[in-house]
Structures are given as C-alpha cells and as structure tokens.
Symmetry: C4
Subunit: 212 residues, 4 copies
C-alpha cells in the first residue's frame, strides 16, 4: 500500500480490487468442501466396508466439487490476466466486479443442490439450476470484461490482441451455459458434461492467450 | 512489507490494517452463502418440478443474500476510499476499525434470521433485527470515519472535499437505518426495501466521490 | 513479492509469514459468527414477540462472540507490532507461529461450547474449557515472542523498549488465564469476566507501546 | 501490484499465484475447526463432569485437527520456499498448482471422516481414506515441484542445492503415504502415526533446507 510516486495512484486502486477479489475467489473455492457430508453408517452395521461404500456413494459430491473448483479457478486466472491490462478503476468497474463476485460466492449453493439430487428423480432440475447459475455468472463475466476494457482504464502496455482474444472466448460463455441448462431437460449428466467441457475449453484459451 | 525508506513507516501500518480488513470483509461476504439451505423434497415426491418449486420458495434467502452482499461491498469500497486519505494508525483507529469489523462479521447471522422468518408471522421482528444490526454498524462506521479523519493521521494528499462528502453521506446512516428498523413494525418488506434503497444511495455517493 | 534489491531478502520472508498469519487471524475471527444458531420458534407460536425473546435468549452466544472477537483482534494487533521488529524468519519462528495459529483457529470451538452451556448446569466446565484454551494460546504466544525476538532475526531498527514492554505484558498471560480457568470452578461468569478484563488490559498495552 | 519497472513483469505473476495460494492454504487450515462438534450432554444429566467427559471423548477430532493442521502448514512453508526460486508462471504451473490446491481444500473432509469413525469398527476405512487423500496430494505436490522447477521459470538466483534437496525429500511422499494407507488395513492408529511421523520428517527438511 505504499505510494511510491504521486504520479502512479491508479496502480494502487486496481491492487486493492484485485486483493479483495482474490480473497473472495479463494474463500468461495475453499468453502466448496463444506458441501461434503460425513456419511452416517452407524445404522447399517458400521463395518469398514460399509463406510467405504458410503464414501463411494458420495461421488456426485466429488464430481460437483471438482467441476466447481476448476470453473472458479479458471475464472480467477482470467480475472487476473484481464486486470493486468487495467490500471484504473471506477464505480462501474467496481459494480461489474461486485456482480461477478456475487455470482462466485453463490456457486457453493448450486453445487450442494447438484450433489444432493444428482442420483434422485429431481436430477434434471438440480443440473439445470447448476448450469443456470453459470449462465448468470457468464453474463456477469462478460459485463466485467466490457467494464474493464474501456479505453480510459487500460494501462499503457495493454495488449490489443489479448483484449480481442478475451472478448472472443468469453462471448460464447452465456450461450454455451444456456445450452448446458437446456441439456439438463434431457439428461442431468449431459448438462454436467457440457459444464466440464467448458472449463477445459477456457483453460485452453488461457494457454493460448498466455503464450501469444 | 518492504521498508523502502525509513521516512515512510506510517504507510506500512495502514497497509496491514487494510489487508486484514479486506480479509474480514471478503470472508464475511462469502460466508453469506452458507445461510442457503439445500431444500429437502424427498418427502414430497422429489420430482424435478418439486425441487424447482422448493428452490423458488427460497427467495427470501436470495433477497437477504443480495442485500447483505451489496451492503457489505459498498462499505468495503468506502472503507478503502477512506483509508486512501490516511497514512498513520493509532490505537483508537484500530479500536474503531475493530468495532466496525465486528459488525461486518455479524451480518451473516441477521441475514440468516431474516431469510428463515421473512415468510412467517415473525417476519416483522426478523426484519427489525436485520435493520437494527445495520443501525449499530452505521454508528460504528461513523465512529470509524471520525477516528480515521483526525488531523495527525491524514496523509499529505488527503482530499478535504472527499472528507466533507463522506461525513455528509454517512451521518445519515444511523437515522436512516433506524427508520428502516421502525418501518419493520409496520411491514417487514418495507423495512427490507429501505435497506435496499440505502445501499443504492451509498453506491451513488461512491460514484460522485470518486469522480469529483 | 518483488525483490527490489538482492541485499534485502529477509524482509520478503517475514512478509509472507505475516500475510499468511493475517489470513488465518481474519478467517478465525469471521468464523465465530457460524457459532450463532438461528432460533427455531415455529413450535412456540412463532409470533414476532416469540422470535424477539428467542434472539435475546441467545445472549451467551453474543457475549462469547464479542469476547473471542476482541481477544483475537488484540492478539493480531500485537502479532503485527511484534513482527515489525523482525526481518528474518527461520524454522523455529515458523513452528512457534504455527502453534500460535493452531491455537487461534481453535478458538471458535470453545466459544461454541461456552455459548451452548453458559446457561446450563455444565456452565463451569464450559467456561473452564474456554479459559483453558487461552492458557494454551498464551503459552504459545509467549513462545512466539521468544522465537521472534532472538538477536539474529531482529531488524536493524528494532526497539529495545518495545521488546522489553512486550515481554513484561505477555509473561502475565499464562498465569492470568490460569486464574480465569480456576475461577470457572467457582463461577462461570466470573471466569468470563476475567477473560474480558484481560483483553482490555492488553488493548491498553497496545496504546502504551504504540505511543512510546 | 505496482509495476515498478517494465523489465520485471514475471515477479508480479508469481506474486498473485502465491497470494491466492496463501489464501486457500489459510482458509483450508482454519476450516478444520468446523469439523469439531459441540457435544450434546443435555440428555445425560448435563453436569460439568458430563461435559468434561464428552469434551475428552472428542479426542479423535483433536488428533485429526492437529495432524491435518501441521501437514497443511508444512506444505504451505514448502510451497512458499519453492516459489521463492521461481519468477515466471505459465499455464502448466497454474494447472499443477490448481490440482494441489484442490487437494488442500479437500483435507477438512477426510479429517472429519477420520474424527467421526476413529473409535468405531469402521476406523480402518476412515484412516485409509485419510491417508489415501494424502497419497493423491503428495502426487500433486510432486507434479507441482516438477512444474515449478523447469528451467524457463526459474529465477536467476534459484538455488540448485535447494532444488535437488526438495526433489529428494518429496519423491518419498507418494510411497510413504501409500504405506500409511496400507497400514490402515492393519490398524487405524498405526496409519495415523505414520502420517504424524511424515509431517515431522518434512518439518525437519525445512530446517535443513533453510539453513543450508
């Protein structure tokens, strides 16, 4: 929080926005574990084998945890890469970032719902609610990019190519998650599969954007 | 934590106060999601439609989450803007900041109470408890501003206009939330509506204060 | 994490130890709110008055929350002030700091126990467990001070007077909390009262140490 | 987040990776306390003695908490020491670090399972699940080291000796925890004992690596 030279206050502003956002991303990603419930096998004999089976039966929780974890992680990495090109903040960027963070903090909840209902008759609704949450987050992420990549906020060494690539890869977010949401009406696992493909796709765009 | 020049230790002190406060704000804002409970529709058929209805019935939780989220976020942004004008800390600022943080960490609790009772006969008390919490926080915030904006702590480039504007917009905090608390005796949703108007009002003052 | 000059690596090490410790302090202090349980008044009429009474009956939780909050906050401020005099870390400081952090992360648990049993016949044991936890933490804190204030780790501008004052005020920690633990055998509230007096005492030593 | 000189962007990248990882480590280590449940002695008389006995009976939770706490703490210290030798990040390091963090955030869950079942007939499975989690984490940690210690990412002042020592001490991780997992088939406490020996072993390697 030093102010090395009075000519550079903008850097500092982005710094605290990033630090706060880092905190929210880190906490949301760690709270996912609280969705996992210790199985109760006391009433089914309680043998080691019973506990083993019960832990395996928790697999929808593990799938939900891993999918949500990497989706948030990828978004954090992009968030980070995006703000490297920005040196000023304003109220509108704060608001767009706030909406995005609201979406991120919400993720543990649909993840819990998905884990609780993936093997029940209500699986389709749970998967639709899960994918639907990411439709909203993808819209917020797109708004965040639009807010961040406005001319007066960009830093001097902002990369035009990175900005173009980011817009290209994130404009597909809302429709792609909408597809996953609609797919939930057909099959819950299909919807979850699309969500998995999507974070792998964005992970790949990181590689490309970072290396170019 | 570097100490670039022995002439500037004060900057560093504020830095760690800010970092710690950022952490508390970020955690409190993220813990709000833990108030959301996965609905149990196993005993009502458990169809996708039942789950969908049950998720919709959770709307008071969503409203509470969004209201508390943005109220805390706005306070964080102001907290940040205020400390940009301060370069020294002392015991009194630490204490005032501590009281404010105590209030912030408390927010998930009244939010939970509100979400649990907004659609029950006890709604008025729940809304009053929620708004009443913000009366106390608003008083702490005002004390924090008074503690921060004392002459010996201000940094050389502190903006007189910003300080005046901040006092003007925050002195209305305690009475405004008191009004929301009293309104709860009439109608719980009216009280919650006033709380919503208030964070939008302070969001607007950010814009004004940042742009001026 | 910049390395501005190769002559100053020690600063950096302390920096990350502090940042990690700040995180643990901030999270532990915020998790205290999770101990508060939303009262269930559905089966007692559920009128606003019933909810109000139920919220008031939670007062032991509020007392526990406030006491633990300020005790942790004061320890964080001292932790911070202590490390300002230190510029190197080693394995022993890491270990002593780790023990202290273990104690800090544990605090929400005895706070929960205290809040659950303060108005039951088991109150004395709950208060003894609460105060006893702080005996252990006070010992860890003293070990942490001894580890931090070794000659080779001190920074060039370390204040001899601050070091002496800190030793003086913290050597009383273990016996004082032991007294509070023993007092719990007489009366739970007496024990809790001593704990409150203690954090106010250490808060006062901050003022003195900061101003000197 | 200042960019002091355009020649040094790599430092900055590692900085945010470290800050985010610090956050995840700090939160995971603090969430361990949520596994502790307040004992319910209302139905067994509720005397202070009953509460005392109930708190003592929670000892498997305390053992699990301490073991997991120090295992995570030691990994954080090593994580920190490793990244001091690295000045660039790329997609592969981000991914390896992400897998490691996924493992770290998962730890509170097997800790909970272990605490719940250590004194039941299912203890062997619980201990095997606990140690098995650390097999996976040890593999991720080894991959993380391989990703971090690639030539193009190393900083100019990276220590060849430290890198060699780190590889030597961490290559034993996966087989050692595999041994602990297999030992669980014989005796749960034997398995937990091996896990304890292991974090002490790695704590000792810190001392050696730091002092050399």
């Amino acid at each position: 929080m030093e102010e090395p030279l009075p000519e550079k206050p903008p850097e500092k502003e982005t710094g605290r926005l990033e630090a706060f956002s880092d905190g929210v991303f880190a906490i949301a990603i760690t709270l996912l574990v609280l969705e996992l419930k210790v199985p109760d096998v006391a009433n089914t004999g309680g043998s080691p084998l019973e506990l083993g089976k019960a832990l395996l039966k928790e697999w929808p929780s593990y799938v939900g945890l891993v999918t949500s974890f990497f989706t948030i992680l990828i978004m954090w990495i992009h968030h980070h890469a995006i703000l490297r090109n920005v040196c000023r903040t304003d109220a509108w960027l704060h608001f767009a970032n706030g909406c995005l963070l609201l979406g991120i903090t919400f993720v543990p909840y649909p993840t819990s719902v998905l884990a609780s209902y993936l093997e029940t008759p209500a699986a389709k609704m749970a998967a639709g609610f899960y994918a639907g949450t990411f439709v909203v987050i993808a819209i917020f992420f797109y708004l965040f990019i639009r807010a961040a990549f406005r001319r007066p906020l960009l830093s001097a060494n902002a990369s035009e190519e990175f900005i173009r690539n980011t817009f290209h890869s994130y404009v597909v977010g809302p429709p792609a998650y909408l597809l996953a949401t609609l797919a939930a009406a057909v099959d819950a696992r299909l919807s979850l599969g699309i969500c998995t493909v999507l974070w792998i796709f964005w992970a790949a765009t990181i590689t490309k954007n970072t290396q170019s």
